[in-house]
Structures are given as C-alpha cells and as structure tokens.
Amino acid sequence: MSTGTLYDKVWDLHRVAELPGGSTQMFIGLHLIHEVTSPQAFAALKDMQLSVRCPERTIATVDHIVPTLSQKRPFLDPLAEEMLSTLESNCTKHQINFYGLNSGQQGIVHVIAPELGLTQPGMTVACGDSHTSTHGAFGAIAFGIGTSQVRDVLASQSLAMNKLKVRRIWVDGILNKGVYAKDLILYLIKSMGVKGGVGYAYEFAGPAINALNMEERMTICNMSIEGGARCGYVNPDSITYNYLKGRPYAPKGQAWDRAIEWWGKLSTDSMATFDDEIKFNASKISPTVTWGITPGQGIGIDEVIPILESIPVCERSIAEEAYTYMNLKPGQPIAGVPIDVCFIGSCTNGRLSDLRDAAMIAKNQKVAKGVKAFVVPGSEQVSKAAKNEGLDELFLSAGFEWREPGCSMCLAMNPDRLTGRQISASSSNRNFKGRQGSATGRTLLMSPAMVAAAAITGEVTDVRNLLDVSE
C-alpha cells in the first residue's frame, strides 16, 4: 500500500465515511458537467425528488455535440439542439454556472476548467467523461465517472469509491527537439500497455516531467486513461502556481499565499512509498505514431509496423485485427503512409501551445493537395489568444480551415467526421474503430506538430525534418 503520496493525502482529506461493503465515501471538490452524460442524471434526480447538493461546486459547459462551422442556434441536428437546451434548462433550474456558446469561456470541459483556475492542487475532480484525468496535471485527483455516478455527485457531492494503488512513473532525461508531450505519453502507453494501469493512479515524476509546462502536463495526464489508469497526476510546483495565479477562480491576495503553502504540503513526501515504480528515459523517445486500433499500438516515426512474431502472444489477435482494419502491412514503414484528413484539436492537444507548435510547421507552407486539414481550438479563450498571435491567419494562408471551439472530430457526436475509409492524422486521444465517425474510418494518433507535418506533406512525416528546414 502506498503511503505519503499526494494521492494518499488527498484521499484522506476527502474521506467522508466508510461505507458498508468496504468502499469509502469521498467528497468531490469540483464537479464538471456537459451535455452528454448529465441529462439522464438530472432526470434521475427528478425521479428521486432530490436537488443538487452543491450547485456552487458544479460547473457546466457544452462541447461534444457543438458544430464547429456555424454555431448558430438552433443547431441543424435537432438531437444536438435538444441536448444543449436540456443542459441549459437544467443549469438554470439548479442554479449551476454554465459557460455556454459565446460566453467567452465555452470550450472542451477539460480545457476550460484549468483556464478558469477551477482546477487546483489537492482537489478531487469528477466529470462524466473519462478524460477527466487531464486535471491531474495540477496535482488534483481527477477521474471520469458514469452517468449513475454523475447522479450521485449531483445529489450528494460525493461518491462511493475504492482506493487505487499508486504507481510512480519516473521519467529521466529531457525530450529532444521535435519530440513533444504527446510523444512521451504515447510512448508510455505503448510500453506499459492499454491495460497496464488498471487499478492504479499514475504519479508522473522525474526531471523530464518537471520540465514540462502545464499544457504539456495536461496532455500527459489526459491520456492516463488510455493506459488503463483512472487518474494520473503531477505534483504541484512553481510552474503550477505561475499558471494558476490571477485566473478567475484562483485564490487572491493573502489567500493565495496560504494556498501555496498548503499546496506545497500536499506533494508526495521524499519518504513516500509506492505500490509500483517504473523508470523511463525521455531522451530515447522519437516522435511516436499509432498504427493500429488502440492507443497502445504506437511506434517511433523511424520504425516499421511490427510483425506478428515481434508482438507478445496476448496482443496478437488485436494486432491482426488492426492490420486488416487499418489496411497496413506488418514490416511497412509508418513514415510515408498517405493521409486524407488532418485534425488539430481535442482536450489532449487543443490548447494554445499545441496550436503554436503546429503553426511553427505550417508557417509559409501549403497543405498538400487532396488533404483536408483543420484546426479546432479547445476553447473560446484558446481561440481568442491564438487570433491575437495571428495563428488563425497563419493556418488559413497555409490552407488549413480554422473552426469554432468544440470536441469536433475527436469523436462522432457532431458534424465533423471521417467518411468511408478515410485515414486521419489526429492530435486526439483515441484511435478505436469508428471513433471518428465512419465505421471504416482510420485514425493515426500523433502530436499536433506531426499532424501539421502530415498536412504539409500529405503523408506521415518525421516532423524533425521540417523543423530543420524552417531554421
């Protein structure tokens, strides 16, 4: 059993009661809701004649179903319109703060909560969405929940939970030029497997992690869930505090000083013990791309698609399924695979620094003929900040489309989709069969800079080659 980790301390701070059957009732410090997983939960509250326990700890936005071309109401898709208006009326009825379209603060739930300073060290954060693990970047314990648990949190501001084990993932070294946080997390998932983290919270630590900025840490924690870990976190430090300072919900004045002192004490002790520990070295990582149908099926840009014999026996059947579905051959290099659609966005890589990284590649270049490339900022604030820097113009003149904020082509709940057998280079987090809206559509996950490189060349390309050129 772990002791003295941030996870242990946050767990102890939020324990309300031990429940019969062995689980623990945990207080939830921040409950984020959106249009997809909340309506049934609100309906259940009504059925049970209950109200929202802590509306002031509940924050809503709309992201999954919003169109990114025109956000004029009513939406063309009546079901999407119904989902949004249901959320609006639930928020009004229960006096929940709702950051809707054109509020200036709308966006993907995991992008806006950090931007607003809602996500803070030492909190428990829950949201009916598996990528809630993103918020762990701040030293919060943050995890996704199902609809019946959304109902529980609405009704009681708490959840019945079982304590996880803690695995420390220590990353030495430093990421090389052209290698990004996305490459690091794809590499970690590939190394530990998509089920490797089941039953664990991941603590990301070590020199390579400490060197990451907050947006990069969010990218890492965001995909903890793709490695099977329900939550992942980074201990808070001066980078965390500098990011938070001055944000709307961050503590102010003397409270800020007290907060920093408290946050500092929450970090994992030097004498802490872990249930498990694994070490990696960041300097060995190349730009990483998935070739298959799980986020664990990744390879370095200079590698070939693994042959069956090189794959562990238990993963061979999914590999065979992937060869067929992706129409890629074992032994074939991943570099050079032609791309139809390039998507830059999502809660993994739709933040300002992601757009800047991609823009650096797209600058003074043109999207290859026949490729559809588009950029979807993660939030209205990201969009505004990017426009201030002229990134929208830069992308547009390179032949990218510039869209309104939302989840977009990360998943198939809005008009942005692949069609038929199209293959995408995508900065999102899931490459499951059919994830991007076509039952036969194919997804290659990679960093935003790598997506931009694919857009310019029309094929999977080592971004480091283009970086050298642009210097």
């Binding site: 301390k9 102890d12 701070l13 939020h14 324990r15 309300v16 009661a17 429940l19 019969p20 059957g21 009732q25 207080f27 410090g29 309506p39 049934q40 309906a43 059925d47 049970m48 209950l50 326990r53 079901l79 119904e82 989902m83 249901t86 803070q120 030492g122 909190m123 199902g146 609809t147 019946s148 109902r151 529980d152 009704a155 009681s156 501001q157 708490s158 959840l159 019945a160 503590p251 409270a255 007290r258 907060a259 408290w262 004490k265 929450l266 709940m413």
Partner: protein, 221 residues
Amino acid sequence: MLVNKKYIYESMNSSFTFPKGQIANIKGRCMSLKGDDIDTDRIIPARYLKCVSFESLGSQVFADDRYQGNGSHPFDLDKNQGSTILIVNRNFGCGSSREHAPQALMRWGIRSIIGESFAEIFFGNCLALGIPCAIGSSELIKEIQDLIEFDNSEEFIFDLKKEQLFNAKTNWDIKFQSGVQEMFLTGQWDATSTLIKNSSKLNDLMAHLPYLQNFNPVKLN
C-alpha cells in the same frame, strides 16, 4: 432506422415505479429469454444511446432482435407482457458498460433476472438500479425455462432472503453472489440514498477543507 412500430410496446407496467429501498422479494410472472452471450448491443442497439433521458428505452429494448423476430421475440409475445422476472442463460449482458441496457430492461418492466451467469459490469449496473441478478445451475435454469415457456400464467415469488423462486406448487433454489444479498435486503444497493444519509459528516468535512475555507489554516492530518 430499423424500428418496426407494430412490435414496439410502451411499458406494459402502468403503475411504473422504480426499485427503492430494501428489496426482500420480487413478485410476478416469469418470462424466458434463451441464449448464451446475449450482449448489451442486442439489449439496446448503439443508436439509441444519443438521448437526453432513459425514458423511452423501455420500448426500445432488443429493438433489432424484435424487428427481425416480427412479433415472435419473447419481449413481443402477448403472454410475456407484464412479466417481472427474466430467466436467461450464460454470460448475459456481456459487451459494453452502457447503463442503458439494464435501464431498458427495467423500463420495460423487468425487476429481477435469474440466469446461469452474468457479465460483471452488467451485473454491477443492475445492482446500481436495484435489479437483483441471481444464479442457478444450467439444469435448473432449463427446467424453469421449459416450464414457463409451456405456461407462464402463474405468479412466482423470488425471495431474496431464502434465495428461492417459488409458488404454491414449485420451489427452486437459486444463489446470490456473496455480499450482494445483504445490499438488497438492507437497501444499501442504492448508492445515492446511502451517500445522502451522511450529509452532516459531509458538512463537517467541507467546513475543514482548506480550499473551501479560503485557505485559512486547517491542520493537515
């Protein structure tokens, strides 16, 4: 969309109520649904997941199977309407974790499921909704299914404490997974109600949590 209106029934149970509190027994008629590995995609096809409430799911349960069955599916047979106890075979509810599957069954009117075995997540989702799932040997399940397929006009009582399905004439022993029986008998299957009960403890905790108290000094245990 693959929906044959003719065979989509509204919930047959007009006095429709959700399971609540302690559940000691389930009364009603039984219906049989034969087959191993019946997955959640069959119980409720994926296209019904994009919805704002679970309300209409009752009429959509097994939508595609029923469409193909053209009236002969167990959920369409007149004699099965109003049944509350569903008798199934091996690995019932496998597939995705969607809560929509037990929701659809519950809203159609099913209050308990007895089978040879259940998929784990489905079992957990049923527990969260107050639908007891109990287990019988394959011989026993076959015996029950054969009997009720022949004639299911009789009411049964599923007694959770005695772990028996019985009526005046017949009596079968069935089993619960350990721990689950107690959760139903005491009402603790209902996580929401259990959590709400500790409201004052929750208030105490909130009063001491630094980030809710403007970070005024609080001892860190």
